[in-house]
Amino acid sequence: MPGNCFLESAIIVQTREVAESTYITGLKSRLIAPLVTPGQFLMVSFPETSDPLLPRAFSVCDATADTLSLFYVAVGRGTRRISKLKPGESLVLNGPLGKGFPEMRSAQKIWAAVGGSGAALIPILARAASKTSADIHFYYGARTGKQLVGFDEAANLEYATDDGSKGFRGNVVQLLIEKMKNGMPDLLFGCGPTPMLISMQKEFGARVPTYLSVETPMACGMGLCQGCPVRKAGKKDYYLACKDGPVFRSNEIEFEADL
């Protein structure tokens, strides 16, 4: 799709620490921001150094006409580095990349389960749902309440924590199981740690149209390197997470056995 992806040097507007080692960084982006759909991602790279060398993948947390934001947990050198950049400094963005969640239609009942850095998708999904008048509910899980980030953008949001310190006691899949006793959504979205996705696939894959955003190591994010295979369900073949995903219909994929 020539002309649909861009390399853009984007200026940092601000960075906020929103929970323990969790940040939201807003950037000016004239080229990429207007094109992003929920679930698409960017590859973010660092000018002036070869170490870290490879770009890092981030879902777009929110996007308007000329700004976008990243929501991330500072787990390693790349994310720590981004979190320390000052307003006015710049990062190179490549995107929007990949295929996001299916378009939401008016009055469609959508449940989105998120966990960890998957919470990045709450604002952009909420915005897209309100635009098409879809009825989206978020279920947001974490180990403990302190890790949960408040998002004003989401009207309907329930929490699940392993220790019960906020919302439902248990994980987000257990919460969804409870909720489904009183009715099913039209679509189920999942974005979070791989064990959560595996468990969603097992529990709901056969019952609800379920879409999962997968995370794999990625070197390029553009289909150049073949580094990001995701097993096709029932076939001896792979998708590429970066081009065919990162969002897949749950019944199209298999997770690796040893995960």
Binding site: M1, G3, D51, L53, P55, P217, L224, C225, P229, K236
Partner: protein, 315 residues
């Protein structure tokens, strides 16, 4: 005066020395989102095999200091799908196409070359000899001079256009392999593929890529491949295509000064898919600034006393 950027690999004239490296540019068309690929000297395809290959289990890539490890396992759509589906697109985009092929048996190299010889818009062939030779107990084709000679001799008979042999760097003396390729009629050698490397996760104690070892690419390997380009340039007269860790335009110039006629950009594309366009611009400025009227004047122009080089004395 704009400098003349043309270089030659055998009878093939490239409009400039900048090519993309096999396996790092998809099938070429993916890059056209970011720049006009017709400005390149050439686009080199992912290694193609006779049948499609799904490749290795993940994880296939891992970052290390100034480099990355990969073990893709030659995942590719196969030679027929490439000819049918990708060639028309690439032709339309105006790219000069060199096809890279890989196989586990000598006969398969020949069959692949025959399949590609008929398509005139495939302007050159690059032989990837880094695969394990199934007949010889898994020894890499590229680490045995005899097998390399056999493959080049047989492919040379069936492929009439530019034939380039991509050498593995994982050998004691790479110039012996280059000489063998030259002797069998190759038009050029690519120096070099990736280096065998490994990384471990200290908490899980598992290797960071599924196949335990993988190929190291990126800036980390540039000094190594630079030494190999220099070594090969003193051993053969056919053109050398340098591949290894080119991340800034100066790297292109360094390789040419050390003896390369052209270069391939690989891992750098992952961070900067439009890097080749920037390199072309900066190279032009450098040549003008240095009063060099043709880029070919750079080739092998290193100012050094050869008697100082312990590495060459060895040979």
């Amino acid at each position: 005066m704009t400098p003349d950027l043309r270089v030659r690999i055998g009878e093939l004239e490239l409009k400039n020395p900048i090519m993309t490296a096999s396996g790092t540019c998809g099938y070429g068309d993916e890059l056209s989102d970011y720049f006009d690929i017709s400005i390149l000297g050439a686009v080199v395809s992912k290694s193609l095999t006779l049948k499609p290959k799904i490749g290795n289990e993940p994880p296939r890539v891992a970052e290390v200091a100034c480099g990355m490890l990969n073990s893709i396992g030659l995942a590719n759509i196969g030679v027929q799908a490439f000819i049918n589906e990708k060639m028309p697109k690439l032709n339309k985009l105006g790219a000069l196409i060199i096809v890279n092929i890989a196989a586990k048996r000598v006969e398969d190299y020949v069959a692949l070359s025959e399949a590609l010889a008929g398509n005139a818009s495939i302007r050159g062939l690059e032989l990837n000899l880094s695969c394990p030779n199934v007949k010889e107990g898994g020894i890499e084709f590229g680490t045995d001079v005899r097998t390399l000679s056999t493959i080049v001799k047989r492919v040379r008979k069936v492929f009439p256009r530019a034939l380039v042999v991509k050498l593995t760097p994982n050998v004691t003396r790479i110039s012996e392999f280059a000489k063998a390729a030259e002797a069998e009629g190759a038009d050029g050698v690519t120096v070099a593929n990736t280096y065998v490397g490994m990384a471990v996760d200290v908490y899980s104690r598992e290797p960071r890529i599924h196949t335990v070892t993988g190929g190291l690419s990126g800036p980390a390997i540039k000094p190594l491949t630079m030494a190999k380009v220099f070594e090969v340039s003193k051993a053969v007269r056919i053109p050398i295509i340098a591949s290894g860790g080119i991340f800034v335009w100066q790297d292109v110039v360094e390789y040419m000064i050390a003896g390369a006629t052209a270069v391939e950009i690989g891992t750098a594309l992952f961070t900067k898919p439009d890097a080749p366009a920037g390199f072309l611009k900066s190279m032009g400025e450098y040549l003008s600034h240095e009063n060099v009227s043709a880029v070919s004047e750079l080739i092998g122009s290193l100012r050094a006393k050869l008697e100082n080089v312990p590495h060459l004395k060895r040979g």
